[in-house]
Point group: C2
Chain length 313, copies 2
């Protein structure tokens, strides 16, 4: 069996702290996957090619040389090559027009997908890497606001089959650093399973506040809740999670990203999708979920455009 038989490709999801390669067929089905903790930041002396080739050696042996597609942080300043950012409004065609393909020593290719920038953003141009491919995979045919949770969550607007604008919220990073290193770290106990009741209490603390309060005031409720006997140590982490994600929705609402009654999409492949769905519903939204493999579908959609465009391959 060779790659030409069933149009196999490799989709690379190589982030700052993890490596993931997916073997997909021409229909987008995931045949196999290889995962490790060799994120970008662990690669020595810029030897991305060595790490990649040894990681996917089993596929090379079985299927021969396969074309590779890579979106996200591997194509950033700290990654293999620094890819440009395509300016919004953008769609799959404008993204595909700025890919860069490198020929590898074994005769194969790796195609890097560019990021996206929204130059209309305040204060500096906003940026995404990887989420543009998820959005393409989700599909741009329906006008909708899409939320992509993560360390740096993105809210993106899809209109007239384009990604018209987007905004980053540093929610995951704030939650992560506070829960690991703040006053909470000494008191909070991680529960065995998510405590959705505590989580929703955190959401409500922010959502029901009629004052014009922000995150710096709301955060202290995790401590005063504990001091006043209203929060147990094993509830604090999920309460904080609800409080912080609800703060993101509150900011997004104030910035006009949604109104009560709207339908929004939540796109992702991890536990945060359910977290964001719950908060969205608390805020009176109808939430539709993207497939967990939007990134793969996006890579394949871009690959398809490239293969139909003369002069690029």
């Amino acid at each position: 069996m060779t790659s030409k038989d069933i149009n196999l490709r490799i989709v690379l999801d190589w982030g700052t702290t993890s490596f993931r390669a997916l073997l997909v067929d021409g229909a987008g089905a995931i045949i196999d996957r290889i995962e490790s903790e060799q994120g970008i930041q662990s690669v020595q002396d810029g030897n991305f090619i060595g790490v990649l080739q040894s990681a996917i050696a089993p596929w090379r042996q079985q299927h021969g040389v396969l074309p590779i597609y890579a979106a996200g942080m591997i194509g950033s300043r700290n990654g293999w090559i620094e890819m440009p950012y395509v300016a919004t409004p953008a769609d799959e065609n404008t993204v595909a027009a700025q890919v860069r393909t490198i020929r590898l020593p074994d005769g194969g290719t790796i195609t890097f997908i560019p990021g996206l920038t929204d130059r209309s953003a305040y204060l500096f141009a906003d940026v995404m890497r990887g989420e543009e491919t998820q959005l393409v995979g989700f599909g741009l045919s329906r006008d909708i606001t899409a939320v992509l949770p993560g360390t740096h969550a993105k809210w993106a607007r899809i209109e007239n089959s384009q990604i018209t604008r987007f905004q980053t919220f540093v929610t995951g990073e704030v939650f992560g650093t506070l829960s690991r290193y703040s006053f909470l770290a000494k008191i909070a106990k991680k529960p065995e399973a998510p405590d959705w009741t505590a989580f929703l209490r955190g959401v409500d603390a922010v959502r029901n506040d009629r004052r014009a309060a922000g995150l710096l005031t709301h955060l202290f409720a995790v401590r005063t809740g504990w001091l006043s006997g209203n929060l147990k140590p094993e509830e604090m982490s999920d309460y904080l999670s609800g409080l912080v994600v609800a703060s993101e929705f509150r900011e997004a609402k104030a910035l006009g990203w949604f109104e009560i009654g709207d339908t929004i999409a939540v796109i992702g492949d991890d536990d945060l999708v359910d977290v964001y769905r719950r908060v969205g519903e608390s805020f009176g939204l109808t939430v539709i979920l993207g497939d967990p493999d939007c990134a793969v579908q996006g890579c394949l959609a871009i690959a398809k455009i490239l293969h139909h465009t003369p002069g690029v391959s």
Copy 2:
């Protein structure tokens, strides 16, 4: 020379991560000080008395037994004894009425000053420990809003010679954890001296934003500023500082703590006082500064009340 000669006292500033004892005379002048890193959290098996007595042994030897006054976290759940919180509105008399004095084995005494709670706060009763003593030391005779910067900064309203209400902002903790553990930690370089230009750019990024944006959106400017070549690594830390403290002022303004043109007080004994003064002035405020030793003055003011009150000593 004995303590009775010049009315010597010891004021204890014993926090979570540091120990500080001040030897003061009857007029409030600081005669000597002993400092160490033996904060509350480093004390083994609750042996506060042992740590205290060996720390101040030189004074014991020279001056005999001296009365000790302690405000702040040493009187908290994680400290020596858990002192109550006096409810607002409160003044030096209501605070003094709830001190607790313990007799020590050497015949001396340690008097713990209670904290303060604002039960009208949203969502749970807000709390302070130590800042009430600084406010008493600052003086309650003038109606003013006072800001006490710190890990958990406090905004307090002084009216009719009382502390009427207060609010906590988790500003110092957010700045500290983000600058040490977030994406910034890998890129930012600590400058040799504060870069006030970068700092004020961070302040302006928040202050000049006409949108209803909050901290979760503003924080990403530290990254996009760097990516777009508008922020150098050695500017990022001070830019973040300006951005986060300005976010506190923005929230405080939205919550009605001040209006442009108001006079506020900034009370503290470290570099943050100057940081807050600069942000306050950027927000169109007249800023007056409390003496750095407000905590000492507050302890002495409370001691004076106790000594004039029959039955307490």
